[in-house]
């Protein structure tokens, strides 16, 4: 039962993230929306892993790897946005 609830939650997160990505007005909003989507994907993987006890370790390891890759992508995206903001500020001066 709880598996079904969390599957739906995972889908909800992906769909909300997608909606946020579509209507974002600011780069930061896009990054946040992508991260909301990735939380949904991770949750779906973990839900699949937890269907039969003991929980499957392979998807859990994948999610751990995914979390670190997601923060790398977030940090890189933010660095790009900061650079963009600095270049724009310079061209306005």
């Amino acid at each position: 039962m709880s598996g079904l609830i969390y599957s739906l939650c995972a889908l909800g997160l992906v769909m909300i993230g997608l909606y946020g990505l579509a209507r974002a007005h600011h780069g930061l909003q896009q990054l946040l929306a992508i991260n909301v989507m990735s939380a949904g994907v991770f949750m779906l993987l973990l839900t699949m892993a937890a269907r039969h006890p003991p929980a499957d370790a392979v998807p859990q390891a994948l999610v751990l790897t995914g979390i670190v890759v997601a923060i790398s992508a977030l940090a890189l995206g933010l660095a790009l946005l900061r650079r963009l903001a600095a270049e724009e500020a310079e061209s306005h001066d």
């Binding site: 709880s2 609830i5 969390y6 599957s7 739906l8 939650c9 889908l11 909800g12 997160l13 992906v14 769909m15 909300i16 993230g17 909606y19 990505l21 579509a22 007005h25 600011h26 780069g27 930061l28 909003q29 946040l32 909301v36 939380a39 991770f42 949750m43 779906l44 973990l46 699949m48 892993a49 269907r51 003991p54 929980a55 499957d56 370790a57 392979v58 859990q60 390891a61 994948l62 999610v63 751990l64 790897t65 979390i67 670190v68 890759v69 997601a70 923060i71 790398s72 977030l74 940090a75 890189l76 933010l78 660095a79 790009l80 946005l81 900061r82 650079r83 903001a85 600095a86 724009e88």
Partner: protein, 309 residues
């Protein structure tokens, strides 16, 4: 019941996070969302992932976002004047709904199939050198994934170094004796916790990722309190930091190559030595992850100057 409430809270926070036009508010909601998601993952019997999400996904991501926020243009500056601010057109809503339905039917289809790799993991656990299944998968069975993930982290950091813009803003330094004393008292404890998490990873939830996240926050605190600490100007520190950045991937790949000469194949270890090699790799990886994550947050600070790192 708890699951239902948690799910509703998560979805409500996610909705608010993407809906709000106040960027600061969106970030704060995102951090809270990360914490609740971590809570949900402990309910899904994934304590390793929950620890990592709380420390990295909510904590460090929040620090990165908040530090970057001040250097971004205002929300209104990026929106064309007079542009429609209301949601999507009917066509896009239709597409969005259709995709949602497709996803629901797809997930419903996987619910009935049952594939688990856990029996294989448990069958070979005694050869892996550790007793915690997740660590066995990360550092032994799927070691190449983890090595490449460290490479991705390193690459992302190198790319950020290239994009670096010196901070132009001045911020009030977090000074004060209370902060300095607290950091001095907490620092040894944090290092101890990091080593404990690393050691514990072989038999229980924990390991290089969680340990690295704790190390990263220890370094950030040291820097925020402006204690004489890790800065490039101090002789051998520069080399040490560079070695730390590269250490994780290098040690991982060298041990992986060693497996070729021992006849266990690339990234394979002989079962009787596996425990020792895994501990060596995890130590180097935790140090690397800690340094890389902390460096990423440090360069995003509004007052960061080149040469500090």
């Amino acid at each position: 019941m708890l699951d239902a409430i948690l799910t509703l809270l998560i979805l409500a926070l996610a909705w608010h996070c993407v809906r709000t036009t106040d960027l600061f508010e969106a970030i704060v909601v995102f951090i809270a969302l990360g914490m609740l998601v971590a809570l949900a993952w402990t309910r899904l019997q994934a304590p390793d992932a929950a620890l990592a999400e709380a420390a990295i996904g909510a904590g460090l991501a929040g620090a990165l976002l908040l530090a970057s926020l001040r250097q971004m243009p205002e929300m209104s500056a990026t929106r064309a004047p007079g542009a429609k601010t209301t949601g999507l057109g009917w066509f896009w809503w239709g597409l969005w709904g259709a995709l949602g339905l497709a996803l629901v039917s797809g997930v419903a289809a996987i619910q009935t199939t049952s594939v688990s790799l856990m029996p294989q993991v448990q069958a070979h656990l005694s050869d892996s050198g550790v007793t915690h299944p997740v660590t066995a998968v990360l550092l032994n069975f799927r070691a190449l994934d983890t090595a490449l993930e460290l490479a991705v982290l390193l690459w992302a950091w190198m790319a950020q170094k290239q994009l670096f813009v010196p901070g132009r803003q001045t911020v009030y330094p977090l000074q004060g004796q209370v902060l300095k004393t607290a950091v001095k008292a907490l620092l040894p404890l944090m290092v101890l916790v990091a080593v404990y998490l690393l050691w514990r990873g072989s038999s229980a939830p924990g390991g290089a990722f969680q340990s690295g996240a704790v190390l990263a926050s220890a370094w950030l605190m040291l820097w925020l309190a402006q204690l004489p600490g890790l800065s490039r100007k101090q002789g051998g520190m520069r080399l040490g930091i560079q070695a730390g950045w590269l250490g994780g991937v290098t040690v991982f790949l060298l041990v992986g190559l060693l497996g070729v000469f021992q006849g266990a194949g690339f990234m394979g270890y002989p079962p009787d030595q596996a425990g020792a090699w895994i501990l060596l790799i995890e130590s180097a990886a935790a140090l690397s992850i800690g340094l890389l994550l902390a460096s990423m947050v440090l360069v995003s600070m509004p007052d960061f100057q080149e040469g500090t790192l």
